[in-house]
């Protein structure tokens, strides 16, 4: 019996090989990040320039905030394709509110509210309507963009309140505000996912929905919460996006943001079907994407080819994760 016991009860002591594979599966994205970072510094000395580094952080902050929410959605076993469109809608509506009221606070709250409401609707469709998240949010993606276009008559809307641009264009010490907001959100979501029951329930639901429900978890409410959360984060991203240029385009703002966010989550090692993944992974995933973009710009790679490289990296990341 002793042998059988050993096999069943202590897999962690079974061999060195499994330890290594554990290390790889837990930290592969960080290892990849370090390799890419070193490669980038070797290839172009300008990469290590402090301003360039801070620039990378600034560039990833908007997608980064969305990717945090996307991680939560994907951990729950869903996906949200509507983030880019909702960002445009939240931006357009918030600028109108800003101009009408003259209050920055009202503008910001409007963006958060519109984002949260769109997310809430997504959550309702997924949880109560039992519509696959891919389809529900695909519908929202088309719908939100259309309403944004309608409200802005297909063009851009600009802020008319002075001081609004300060949100995205100020800095504290050496960091730009958007970067600080991104880090603050990352800490918040990390704590939410690992230190509260909401996070625990999201993991449980993504891993085994039926078992989660039979464990007396209100699965529907958690799902609605998850989509409302990403909607709110999209609202935050919309404020930064709008404030940066003091205007938002109903047609092009946020376009393809969902793909970049999903790419960051996948590179970060979160499982497509949910239940497994980490916020830290997504942060490194978004940094990898940022460094690649930056490198390609520094090396004058044609912008038309940058998508190809990005696609390649996503596929390589997934191939390596399959090895586990």
């Amino acid at each position: 019996m002793a042998n059988i016991d050993a096999k069943e009860y202590s897999p962690e002591s079974s061999s060195m090989k499994s330890r290594l594979s554990w290390l790889w599966s837990e930290y592969s994205v960080i290892i990849a990040f370090v390799i890419i970072y070193i490669a980038a510094s070797a290839m172009n000395p300008r990469f290590l320039d402090l301003n360039n580094q801070l620039n990378i952080l600034m560039q990833v902050s908007i997608i980064g905030i969305i990717a945090l929410g996307m991680t939560v959605v994907m951990l729950s076993g869903g996906i949200d394709l509507s983030v880019g469109s909702v960002l445009a809608l939240a931006g357009v509506v918030s600028v109108l509110a800003l101009n009408a009221s003259g209050s920055i606070l009202i503008g910001v709250f409007t963006a958060l509210l519109v984002g949260a409401f769109a997310g809430f609707l997504n959550g309702l469709m997924v949880a109560k309507g039992r519509i696959a998240s891919f389809i529900a949010t695909l519908g929202m993606m088309a719908g939100a963009r259309s309403i944004a276009l309608y409200i802005a008559e297909g063009g851009s809307v600009s802020g008319e309140v002075s001081g609004f641009t300060a949100i995205a264009n100020s800095d504290f010490w050496i960091f730009d505000f958007p970067v600080i907001i991104f880090f603050a959100m990352a800490v918040l979501i990390y704590v939410l996912m690992h230190k509260t029951r909401f996070g625990r329930y999201v993991y449980a639901l993504g891993s085994n929905e039926k078992a989660a429900m039979l464990s007396a978890i209100r699965v529907d409410r958690i799902k609605i919460g998850v989509y409302t959360l990403i909607g709110t984060l999209v609202g935050v991203a919309a404020v930064i996006e709008t404030s940066r240029l003091n205007s938002i385009s109903s047609s092009s703002s946020g376009a393809q943001y969902e793909l970049d966010a999903i790419a960051a989550v996948i590179i970060g090692g979160t499982r497509m079907t949910g239940g497994r993944g980490k916020i830290i992974g997504t942060i490194f995933g978004i940094l990898i994407l940022g460094i690649l973009n930056n490198m390609m710009n520094l090396m004058n790679v044609s912008p038309h080819l940058q998508g190809f490289v990005k696609g390649l990296i996503i596929i390589i990341a997934v191939v390596f994760q399959k090895r586990e």
Partner: protein, 504 residues
Amino acid sequence: MTSHPFVAMNNIGKSFNGVPVLKNVNLEVEKGEIHALLGENGAGKSTLMNILGGVHQPDSGQIFVKGEEVAMTSPHVSQAQGISFIHQELNMVGDLRVYENMFLGSEIRNRIGILNVEEMCRQTHKILAELGVTINPKEYVRNLATSYKQLIEISKALLHKSQLIIMDEPTTSLAEHEVSRLFELMRNLKKSGVSIIYISHKLKEIQEVCDRYTVLRDGQLVKTDVMQNENLEVITKLMVGKSISQERYVHEHSFGDLALEVEGLSSTGLFKGINFTVQKGQIVGFTGLAGDGRTELFESLFGYRKKYAGTVKVKGKVVKINHPRKALKAGLGYVPKDRKENAIIKDLSVIHNMSLSSMGNFERMGFIQDKKEQQKFNDYKKLLNIKVHNPRITIDKLSGGNQQKVIIAKWLEAETDILIFDNPTQGIDVGAKQEIYQQILALAKLGKAIIILSSEAPEVMRICHNIHVMYHGEITARFTGDEANEEEIMHYATGAKKEGEKIG
């Protein structure tokens, strides 16, 4: 006999990750023989059969088919030698039709590659008729009951003219009359010279149908002998290495107040007119065959299914349960069957699985206190004898028995007074089964009201004070634990006998 056995496996050895799973095991199967392969879970039966089926390669030893050595390098080689393996989990494609499943990978085509549907249907029909079942070959497999799927798997083996069929627990999902039909079929196969290796935990069945048996324990051959006249208790002893008592565990003792009263519970197509009560400290069993509606009944009672009518009273108060959360609030806990699908969250750690239903106990100002979780888990580890070195590993690394204990701990931590166990010993080996029974009895002694659902009549007879037998969604008979006998339970469970209500 000078002729060779159909299959001979000599001195087979196999290790996984340095842990020996098989040690010098020999197995011989004669032509036209039904050979029982016995042993507890983890004894090495599946590994041995996977080696014969070409799934795993042995570290040492040889395999002979009709006296010639064969290297079973892949499942294809094994199939080419006339060996079919019917796995416990059925390999059926639900969205294909019956005949398409039967001929999957070996479709009959004409010269230009067009499928000959009529011929495939004709052959399917013929083989199924031999088994005594009439299924439309063009029916979609997803519409069939599990037992029929099982029969189609067997038909598939026959279709491929297999000379040796390995059956891994084929009767778990079959009703009694289907089991007897399967045995009839096995005897016919035997007459026509087909050999069968039969893996099962149900010793009675084995005695009924098998010619010889081989017992494995801890990866070693314990005994091979002729089945006839062998005492079942002796075989059980060989399997577990010690004698397991078949006596009833429960003895009458006084019960507490009424914990649960159910009146006129009905759900269209699933169950109707269900009445029963459970007192504190009482263990009530529900048994019946597959499709009797007992799982659906308790899934409804637990709020997982919402469409049902009737009254449920917990401790005298009427409760409306339409979500498991409400059930938990009313004091109900549910340990579901099919642990992997319904109970464990395989990506969460052992500790997190334990705390999942009672997160409030571990929070301070909304934040989870890891230390508190760990301490609580250590208490349950001692109380329920959970064997795990590091409770931070994911729960799927634990053995079935230990997983089940963690699920029990989950409901204890949620402070539920009424515990429903559906198939509590499913996929748990004999030794661990005893332990689960002891734990359930201990819980009853603590004053918990316990409900046990099981398809195995002997199980409920051993641990329940009262037994309800279900058939087609109705309770057809009620027994007290000491007056029940297996035969009579079977009569009511199969619908052979039905008295309105043997009210007691």
